[in-house]
Every structure is written in C-alpha cells, then in structure tokens.
C-alpha cells in the first residue's frame, strides 16, 4: 500500500504542476502590468502608471464600451430567444425535432475562422456590411446554441406534472409558464446568460472579421495593439479582462451547481 500512497502523492504534485502551467503566464502578465519598465525588465518596480494611462486611451475606452454594450444586448437577446426555444423543444413533440436539436451543434463545432469569414461574405453580399450591428448579429448566433443547451439541461430536471397540477388548479397557459416553469428554469437561464455574456465579451475571431476601424471591440483592439508592438497598457487592460471574465465564470459555476443540487 506504500506504493499507492506514493502514487497518490505524485498525482497531487502533478495537478499542482498543471495548475502552475495554466496560471503562471497569467500571473506574470498581471505582475508586469504593475512594473515600471515597459519592456518587462527586472528588477520589478511597482507602478500603477499603466492603469492610469488606460484612462487616456480613447480608442481602448470606446472599444471597451462597444464590447460591453454588445455583450449585454447579446445576453438579453440570447436569454429570451434561447429560453423560448428550449421550452418549445422540451414541451412539444413534433417531426424534425431531432434535426432542430442537431442544428445547434454546427455553430459550436465549426471553427470561428470559417463562421467569421462566411458571415463577412454574406453580410457584405446582402448589404448589412461590417460594423457593430454585424458583430451583434454574429455574437447572438454564436452564443444562442450554448444558452439553449444549458437551459435544456436544466429543463431535464423539471417534472411536467407540476405544470399539469397548476393547470388543474385553474392556471392558464401564461400563468403556468410564468409562475411554475420559468422560476424552475431560472438558474439555467442565469447560467446560460452568463455563458452568453462570456462568449460575446471574449469573442475575438468573428468580431475581427466584422469590425471596421471605427466600430470595433476590445479584443480586436488588443490584437491590433499586440501586432503593432507590445505596450504595457495592453498588459493592464488584459489583466482587467482576465480578472473580470474569471469572476464571471465563478459566478456561472455557482449557478450551475445551484442548478445541479435542487
């Protein structure tokens, strides 16, 4: 049994090494965003200069607002359309249902490079063109399948008899949905909404092909800055993004678990 204990110990060590690999570059980037030298020279000297200069960078600020706006609108649209579609897929039996469910996977499985370039061609061809509206169209389409999958998973735990019970007590279809079904799927809807926000806020590839110089999102702006050369301001804004999106994921995980237990 001694070998078992040694192997278990090695296993734990291995996990910590993996975590180091996953987090080291992120931690270093965060540290460097507080370092005086713009070329990441050591020794380390503390400064918040780069964060301060972020506020002067109008391009980054306007791109950030665009990103937030698009992510929030995407979340709202995805939650409404996604919850409606999930309910329909759960409640009703009809021919072609399997096909409709299968259609949710291409947007998830096809590389964003292909979807993004296809959107660019099509939106250009039909006159929508590029810009924030095109980006919004694309983001909703990318995030919607995730929301439907997450809400549907929550619906799997729903007992249809609850709806029938409410009906036999005299509730109409709208009351049944708003008072019984919606409260039940709420954790799924919130988790799905957070997913949608994350998919949109972190989305780079599709936004990249659909943006124009004036109408762009934060990741596209960051990519442009990286390709021009490293700037410490990008470290600062990247650190903020990482912290925000990780916090968002922790929130999502909370709601997911909440969904799993009850």
């Amino acid at each position: 049994m001694a070998t078992t204990r040694i192997l278990e110990w090695l296993g734990r060590l291995y996990i910590w090494l993996l975590l180091a690999f996953l987090y080291l570059p992120i931690i270093i980037m965060a540290l460097m965003s507080f370092n005086v030298s713009p070329f990441y020279q050591l020794p380390f000297e503390w400064t918040t200069e780069w964060y301060a200069s972020l506020w002067q960078n109008d391009q980054l600020i306007s791109a950030t607002w665009n990103s937030l706006e698009i992510a929030i609108i995407t979340t709202i649209i995805c939650v409404v359309l996604g919850a409606a579609a999930s309910l329909a897929l759960f409640r009703y039996e009809f021919r072609g249902k399997k096909f409709l469910q299968a259609l949710l996977f291409p947007p998830i499985a096809i590389p964003w490079l292909i979807t993004g370039t296809a959107m660019l061609i099509f939106f250009f061809g039909v006159g929508i063109g590029r810009g924030l509206f095109a980006i919004l169209l694309g983001h909703v389409a990318l995030a919607l399948p995730y929301v439907i999958v997450v809400v549907s998973a929550r619906l799997q735990t729903f007992v249809p008899e609850l709806e029938e019970a409410a009906r036999s007590l005299g509730a109409n279809q709208w009351q049944v949905t708003s008072r019984v079904t919606l409260p039940w799927i709420m954790p799924g809807v919130i988790a799905g909404g957070l997913f949608a926000f994350a998919v949109s806020f972190d989305q780079f590839v599709v936004s990249y092909f659909l943006s124009t110089p004036g109408q762009t999102t934060l990741p596209v702006e960051i990519y442009a800055a990286i390709r021009k050369g490293f700037t410490p301001e990008i470290n600062a804004v990247s650190t903020i993004i990482i912290v925000v999106s990780m916090a968002l994921m922790l929130l999502t995980a909370r709601f997911f678990k909440f969904g799993g237990e009850k």
Partner: protein
C-alpha cells in the same frame, strides 16, 4: 377544457413554432445562410458587388490543388493540430485521472474549477501572456539563468515550439474536462475487482480504464483538433514569421489580399476537412451516449 389544453400542448409543431422561430431564424440568417453563401462565392471569379462582372469558375479550387503552397500549409496545420492534441492527451489525461480517482470531496471540486477557469477567460489575452514568458530577457530566460551556473539564452518567442506551448495552454482544459467526465463514471468497484483478480496497475489502465474512457478522449481530441487546425491568431502572435499556417493564409485573403473568392474556397476546404474529422469521431461518441 384543462385536458384539452394538456393534450394540445403535447402535440404539434404549431404550438412550438412561435417559440422556436425567432431563435432558428437568427441562426439561419447569421450562420446557415452565411455558410451557404460562402460555398456559392467560392465558385465565383469576383464578388458580385458594385456591378463588377463575375462568372462561375472552378479556378479557386484548382488554385488550391495545383499550387503546392496551400497543400503544404494545410498539411502543416493538420500536423499542428495533431501535435497539440497529442500534448493535450499526454498532459491532460493523467490530470483528469487524478481529479476523478485520487482527489475527493471539496478539494476535487475546487481544483476542477481551477483547471477549467482559465478556459473561460479571453483566449487572445492568454496567448499574449506567453509572450512575456517566452521572449529573450523574459521570465523563463531570467529565471533559468538565475538558477543555472552557466549562461543560456532562451528565446522561444516567434518559434514553432512557442505556438505549440500557447495552443496546448489554451486547449488542455478541454481534454481534462472531457476525460474527467468519462473517468468519473467508471465504477470504483470495477477497478477493485480487477485488482483483486490479480491485474497489475498497468494492465488495469490498458485493459479497463483507457478503453472505458475512450469517448472522453475522442471528444476532447475532436474539440481540440478542429479549432487548432483553423487557428490563426495564436500562430500570428507567438509564431511571428514562422507562424504561417492554413488559418493565417485564409485570414490574409480577407484582411490583406482581398481575394475573397479564394478565401471562401480555402475556408470551405477547411470546413470539409473538419466535417470529415467530426464524422470519423462520431461513432465513438455515439457509442458512449
């Protein structure tokens, strides 16, 4: 009346349609029509914009098949996908095993969350963060030179290994996640039974654990291989001049060269490759489900 509503709600596309239509209409406009348009445009000489003359042609595809460059790049991207996937298996599978079979309770939950957490943060930013570690005079260089008695120069930035490291870092959580889910489903008593029947650890791994977790491995591999073959941002940032792959050439057609029909053809060829791969993986996945 109540019974009528109940049976009515159990049947029919007619009640489902108003709820389904908005979502699927959106997907059609923003995903399915664009993909069809891309196929259409890939057979054109010019984009039919601003009254430009265009005609149907196979030239975009013959360009791909006749010019060795595109073939070579597609092969390079497939190789990149294969290497990254293999590294993710090598690094991710043992981690998934430890998570599923060694760690218990709260520490398992916490570490599992820690492993998949970076995955949901911005991929572009995480790739960028490696630049600070890998460049000459960067952290890796400084740290190694502080420890080692002799002077070495580590400048992995703008190289093939840098691209591999960045991509593995991006995608290894997928492998841990999918393998963990299948490994966790293996009954512990099955492993105990095998062991008590005299199977060695290695035999258990080869004959029982790996076969049973195969769906997770295949799912993880497909989820990693497909986006890596289509990657362009990662090779651009970490690979520099050595980072020319199939994905970056497609990017060029759309943002630099403006040969959209060729770009569409190249994208469609990539889509075909991706679909073949997903089709090959699906029997294993179906067996699991």
């Amino acid at each position: 009346m109540a019974g009528q509503v109940a049976t009515g709600s159990r049947s029919g596309l007619r009640s489902a349609l108003p709820l389904l239509l908005p979502a699927y209409l959106w997907l059609t406009v923003a995903i399915f029509l664009p993909l069809s348009a891309m196929v259409f445009f890939s057979f054109m000489t010019e984009l039919p914009l601003a009254g430009k003359a265009w005609a149907f042609t196979l030239a975009n595809y013959t360009t791909f098949f006749s010019q060795g460059l595109y073939w070579t790049l597609l092969l390079a991207s497939l190789r990149l996908g294969l290497e990254v996937t293999l590294w993710c298996v090598v690094i991710g599978y043992p981690a998934a095993y430890v998570l599923a079979k060694v760690l218990k309770g709260r520490s398992r939950e916490a570490i599992f969350l820690l492993v998949i957490l970076p995955f949901w943060s911005n991929g572009l930013v995480r790739i960028f963060s490696w630049a600070m570690v890998l460049r000459e005079g960067g952290i890796l260089d400084t740290a190694l030179n502080a420890v080692l008695p002799f002077k070495i120069n580590i400048d992995l930035m703008y190289s093939y290994p840098a691209v591999i490291i960045g991509l593995v870092h991006s995608y290894v959580p997928y492998m841990v996640l999918t393998c963990y889910l299948t490994l966790q489903a293996i009954d512990d008593s099955l492993i105990e039974a095998g062991r008590s029947l005299g199977a060695s650890r290695l035999q258990m791994l080869r004959r029982v654990i790996i076969p049973l977790s195969m769906p997770g491995l295949v799912a993880g591999a497909a989820l990693i291989f497909v986006p890596v073959v289509g990657s362009f941002m990662e090779p651009r940032i970490l690979g520099g001049r050595t980072g020319t792959f199939y994905g970056t050439v497609i990017e060029d057609q759309f943002v630099a060269v403006f040969n959209w029909p060729l770009g569409a053809a190249l994208s469609f060829i990539l889509l075909a490759v991706v679909l073949v791969i997903l089709a090959l993986a699906s029997p294993v996945l179906k067996r699991a489900a």
